[in-house]
Symmetry: C2
Subunit: 333 residues, 2 copies
């Protein structure tokens, strides 16, 4: 018999197939491939193909918008939202609308066309993680923005349209629904128990030991009890901090190590799948809600969302996290 499991933060149920769990080879992984780099706008020498750069880490004596960068941030050429203008929120009968104000940036994480995070050196990954923080601090100054969503689509099944390794961020003039649900759920728990629900989840996962993937001084990674997709993995700082930007230098080092390991294990165990990773962090320019705890959620995209998931918000998980963890741990990296 399958199990129904309930997420304690947002109340979502998932159906977990504990009886006939799928192994990695049971999923149809669309093979990831890199197109030829000649026309890649994210490669050295092609900097003119992107809008002018916003920020970059560069080797000494290299010029802006030229080769020689290590991490480069540019506006999205086809932005979902644009930075100039007024919100001008108004009602249209029953409905509400505002102008599409926001920022949509691309963080080109490496000059190497065919390297993803698992293939990079630790100091290269640290630079990426530092850049995330620098972009947050810069965009936070714009008081119109209430949330910055940082996410990565790797591979076409995960929605990537350019295969050169990159992350995107969108600064939004409102707190999005999914984030608000998570924060509201965590706040309710905090009010009731006077404790952070994420800290309690870490504690329980460490006690049960069944779903822990790896640990270091500052971070732990695990496949959550209420995974929405097979092999979903969360990376969580041990320290209770609301925002990603509170990360210390030492923590950046530990996070780089863990992110590399987690993505490397997924790549080996699952055959280089497409994946999304999403940074969950507190809103900006908003009232502080003490029950939150920033973290990263990584989801390999092994199955498609169909009518049942659309309709219910339930997820059917073909590999229980207790089984997924074994494949991830056994991967020879």
């Amino acid at each position: 018999m399958s199990e129904l499991r309930r997420d304690p933060i947002v109340g979502r149920w998932v159906i977990v197939d504990v009886e006939n769990p799928k192994a990695p080879q049971d999923f149809l992984v669309e093979p990831h491939h890199y197109e030829d780099s000649t026309n890649c706008p994210f490669c050295y020498g092609n900097e003119y193909m992107t809008p002018p750069e916003i920020q970059a880490f560069r080797h000494e004596k290299t010029l802006i918008n030229r080769a020689g960068w290590q991490v480069r941030v540019v506006p999205n050429k086809f932005p979902a939202l644009q930075i100039e203008g007024d919100l001008d929120r108004r009602g249209i009968g029953l409905f509400d609308m505002t102008n599409g104000i926001g920022a949509h940036e691309v963080i080109i994480e490496t000059p190497y066309h065919t390297k993803d995070i698992p293939d990079l050196e630790l100091d290269e990954i640290e630079k990426i993680l530092e850049m995330y923080c620098m972009r947050f601090k810069d965009l936070e100054k714009d008081k119109r923005f209430k949330y910055i969503m940082l996410f990565k689509n790797f591979g076409s099944s995960a929605g990537a349209t350019i295969d050169h390794n990159h992350t995107q961020l969108i600064a939004l003039p409102m707190i999005p629904k999914n984030v608000l649900e998570e924060i509201t759920g965590a706040s309710k728990y905090y009010e009731y128990r006077d404790r952070c629900i994420f800290c309690d989840i870490i504690r329980q996962e460490l006690e049960e030991k069944e779903r822990i993937l790896s640990q270091n001084k500052n971070f732990i990674s695990f496949c959550p009890y209420v995974s929405r997709s097979p092999f979903e993995t969360w990376i969580m700082p041990r320290a209770h901090k609301l925002s990603y930007c509170e990360i210390s230098k030492e923590e950046i080092g530990d996070l780089a190590k863990m992110l590399k390991e987690v993505l490397r294990r997924m790549k080996v165990a699952l055959g280089d799948p497409s994946y999304n990773f999403i940074l969950h962090t507190a809103p900006i320019n908003s009232e502080e809600r003490p029950g939150y705890h920033w973290h990263i959620e990584v989801m390999p995209r092994l199955s498609r969302i169909a009518g049942f998931e659309w309709g219910t918000g339930f997820y059917a998980v073909a590999t229980p996290p207790e089984v997924a963890i074994r494949y991830l741990k056994e991967a020879r990296i």
Copy 2:
């Protein structure tokens, strides 16, 4: 500049590209194809390949579990949930779980291997719609069930694994999150205004005339102002009724006509895309919430859900409903 639009029921925002809207040919539609029918478990003569049938409309003097049916309902061979057993809800530390109790049925809508609803005769579609209702009435008797989710995955991009035309239903021991959000949103509006929000949406759409696809005596179809995906279309009964099962014989006739037309227009305008359709109806064996209004939501699957949608619950809609409607209306059917 794009527009941000807010759903008045659940508070979700979507980003609508009103500046450079995508036309149907701008989407990469995975061509739909039907496998050879020899081993199709839903074809005449292969009835032994499915679990024994639960219910069917049959030609006179044909035998159960043999050819001669018009609509046939069987248990899903690989059910997400199973009907026997106790729920046995319990806590695991922070988490909640129950046994995977429920019903998971397949409604084989036609014996023709390569015909979907747009290709069927109206009386054939009416039989399908009647069967939905009969299954609801039967499953409602089981007091463990709180919700019946009826949905269709057509085409592999929409999550279908068998290409012979069918619908699925899952009876669940709880009201799923997305449904609860919709009902709660509608109830709040009802308490505040003493009116049904769906009736008000119909009224506004009829007044604005900008997004109406078709109308008949009992139903209207339109591309909603806050679509989540391009060419999303809702079919809504004019009569304020909570549950699908309150449908009258006359309404079934009108719904069959409209469903055929809407799906036919999508098929022609978009090049036979995969789609999901989801029946939104009130919970069963639960307290009645008067602000609800059953309807059907049809979503062609033209783009993939990526990190931004996962993280935020926002959707980026490349074709505004005001533009989508023109292509659907112009389709020669």
